[in-house]
């Protein structure tokens, strides 16, 4: 490839290097290294050896030493400490006292408690793990069907990636160079909507088949009132993060640090030992490194892609397709469904966004489009946030569907008496709910854009 540097058709080099990335990734090379190597070779080919090599090698530092990215470690730490802070059992207890009387009440309570827990956890698999231990035994005790119990826990976990603090939304924001705060706020309402749709579908299913999820009632108003103080700490953490982003009294990193500090204090009060703190910190460091390595590896590739002009060519091609923009969007979303069968959510986002994101923005009418002139009825800023939420929701659906469906494996891992088949069957109901949620978010983008618009003062 080195021969004839600077004389190749950039698009051709682009296509060769994209193919190389896919072949290496399929062979099982770590995605970060596969992307870095493909990008490195491409850069060297397009701009020459020394400039290409030094550009590529400056990226690991340049992409890690950013203040905007410093929000990730505290968010991840909050997630690892949240379980030790013992707030989960209290959340579930409060939720069951308030909504247990509904058909499928304990499953509804699980979704509500998971939504609350999402406010201190940015990771969907962790949320599924924690609730597998707390909620499933209770549901089984009240003769809930195994499938419903397992399905609701696996699916409810995915709400964590929409409600702030969500690590995956931070990553999206950084990749597409959108405001992290806007993305985090944007996820809030869709997270609630997603939870409400889960609850509605549980109630309807339990009314149709009362034996799968009997109502659990008989709590007095006094008992309900007494369950409230247990959930206040979580509300405090959520309040710190959301008001900081919205009101701007602290940067998101500072709010994350403060949130992590509050959770840390709570965890110590709840009996966390130093050994567990050390483990949580080591895990935080590990996950941080994994995410950052992926970010700089992919970014070397993205830097090359921009030289190759492939994203621009792809955008031009997408915009030129003679079909309704919604139909093209549907095609892109179906592409994500297929990819999601093979890749982890973060990896999938990082690999696809450099190509798909500019295409969708072009489809919306480009950088300076007015909402009235755009086929989706949105400005560029709105569309960018909206696409982020939809793509993250899509990536999360892949966490609960075969063949990967990591959340389902997590539930089965904590509760081995529920077979994997039962977990996957239990998911079917929630898969339907997710398809409805995505449709709602596509056709009512205001749910996504309302809060970030308020923040931007629009």
């Amino acid at each position: 490839m080195i021969i004839g540097i600077g004389y190749q058709d950039p698009i051709l080099v682009g296509i060769i290097c994209i193919s190389l990335l896919f072949v290496l990734a399929l062979l099982g090379v770590r995605v970060a290294f596969a992307a870095a190597l493909s990008g490195f070779l491409g850069l060297v080919e397009l701009i020459g050896f020394w400039p290409g090599a030094t550009t590529a090698a400056s990226i690991p530092y340049a992409k890690t030493s950013l203040y905007g990215l410093s929000v990730l470690p505290p968010f991840i730490l909050i997630g690892f400490l949240a379980f030790h802070a013992g707030m989960t059992a209290k959340l579930f207890d409060a939720a069951r006292k308030w909504v247990g009387w509904l058909p499928g009440g304990l499953a509804v309570a699980t979704v509500m408690a998971q939504t609350g827990f999402a406010a201190v956890s940015g990771a969907s698999t962790a949320t599924a793990a924690v609730f597998s231990r707390i909620a499933i035994p209770e549901m089984l005790k009240y003769k809930y069907s195994k499938r419903l119990a397992a399905g609701v826990v696996a699916a409810g976990g995915t709400i964590a990636s929409l409600i702030p603090p969500s690590a995956i939304l931070v990553i999206y924001a950084l990749v597409v160079e959108e405001s992290v705060g806007a993305l985090l706020l944007a996820g809030f309402l869709p997270g609630i909507v997603s939870a409400l749709i889960y609850c509605a579908i549980i109630v309807l299913w339990s009314m149709y088949k009362p034996e799968v999820g009997p109502a659990v009632g008989g709590y007095t108003w006094g008992e309900r009132a007494r369950s409230v103080p247990g959930v206040l700490p979580i509300m405090l953490v959520a309040l710190i993060i959301i008001t900081a982003i919205y009101g701007g009294w602290a940067t998101i990193t500072e709010a994350g640090a403060l949130g992590a500090f509050v959770v840390l204090i709570l965890a110590f009060f709840h009996g966390m030992r130093t050994k567990q703190l050390k483990d949580a910190l080591m895990e935080t460091a590990r996950l941080t490194v994994m995410i950052f390595t992926l970010i700089w590896g992919i970014y070397i590739f993205v830097t090359f892609l921009n030289f190759s002009t492939v994203p621009q060519a792809f955008s031009t091609w997408i915009v030129g397709i003679d079909a309704h923009p919604y139909l093209i969007l549907l095609g892109i979303l179906l592409g994500y469904t297929v990819l999601g069968m093979f890749m982890d959510a973060i990896g999938m986002l990082l690999v696809t966004l450099p190509i798909f994101y500019p295409a969708v923005m072009a489809l919306n009418g480009g950088d300076y489009v007015l909402a009235a002139d755009s086929p989706f009825g949105m400005t560029k800023d709105q569309a960018s946030v909206w696409f982020g939420i939809i793509v993250v929701k899509m990536a999360e659906v892949c966490l609960i569907t075969p063949p990967i469906g990591l959340n389902c494996f997590v539930v089965n891992g904590v509760q081995p008496q529920i077979s994997l088949q039962d977990v996957f069957r239990g998911i079917a109901l929630f898969f339907v709910a997710d398809v409805i949620t995505i449709a709602v978010l596509v056709f009512f983008p205001q749910i996504v854009t309302w809060l970030p618009d308020l923040m931007r003062g629009g």
Partner: protein, 206 residues
């Protein structure tokens, strides 16, 4: 052949044992940095309160930016040892015995090549900052100590990848040998166990 093979195993095993404490220490430093940055954020918020101190930490953002590589890159080799860096392993799971280890040998060579290249040229990037006395925007802290972390971390990662290359090569020669210096390919169930261990703190893995 068997003798060469044994020697390869011994060398790989010894190198592995020597590298592990280095990697553990570096990740521990990263873990401590997580705690430090959290405390720094809390102090910053408190010190900035207008009616209390109204004295935000000087150069706070620069401090955070310069310490980010400690968290973000120092533990890179530790992660590689534990197989944390994500990959698509759908095909690897279909492979058994020698084929699996031939592919793994190839994979470690690919990773080794790019990491060596980046080590070499991130050193150039560091040297530029060192010789020019490059400093951060606000507080004018020198940037080279922070930039130096990149080639150091990548050099250690190269050593780890070399160990994994030798380990895979040894198993490609004779797949029946015990695993030394390689990561056993994890399937989704293994990943799920790992996630549960992380979320629930270790006592829950069945």
């Amino acid at each position: 052949m068997a003798e060469i093979d044994d020697m390869l195993g011994r060398v790989t095993g010894r190198a592995d044992r020597m590298l592990c404490p280095v990697e553990d220490t570096l990740n521990f430093i990263a873990a401590t940095a997580v705690l430090f940055l959290m405390m720094l954020g809390v102090v910053q918020v408190i010190m900035r309160i207008r009616w209390l101190f109204s004295a935000p930490i000087f150069g706070y953002i620069d401090m955070i930016e310069l310490s980010m590589p400690i968290l973000a890159i120092l533990g890179i080799s530790y992660c590689q040892r534990h197989g944390v860096h994500i990959r698509m392993d759908i095909m690897l799971h279909k492979l058994r015995g020698r084929t699996l280890w031939v592919v793994e040998t190839f994979n470690s060579v690919v990773a080794l090549v790019i990491v060596l290249l980046l080590t070499r040229f991130s050193w150039v990037f560091f040297m530029d900052a060192y010789t020019s006395g490059d400093s951060s925007v606000d507080a004018e802290y020198l940037t080279w100590p922070s930039k130096l972390l990149v080639p150091i971390a990548l050099a250690i990662l190269s050593a780890r990848l070399l160990i994994q290359f030798l380990g895979s090569l040894r198993l490609a020669i004779d797949p029946k040998r015990e695993l030394i210096g390689v990561i056993k390919p994890a399937d989704v169930a293994d990943q799920a166990r790992e996630e549960i261990r992380e979320a629930l703190g270790g006592d829950e893995v069945k």
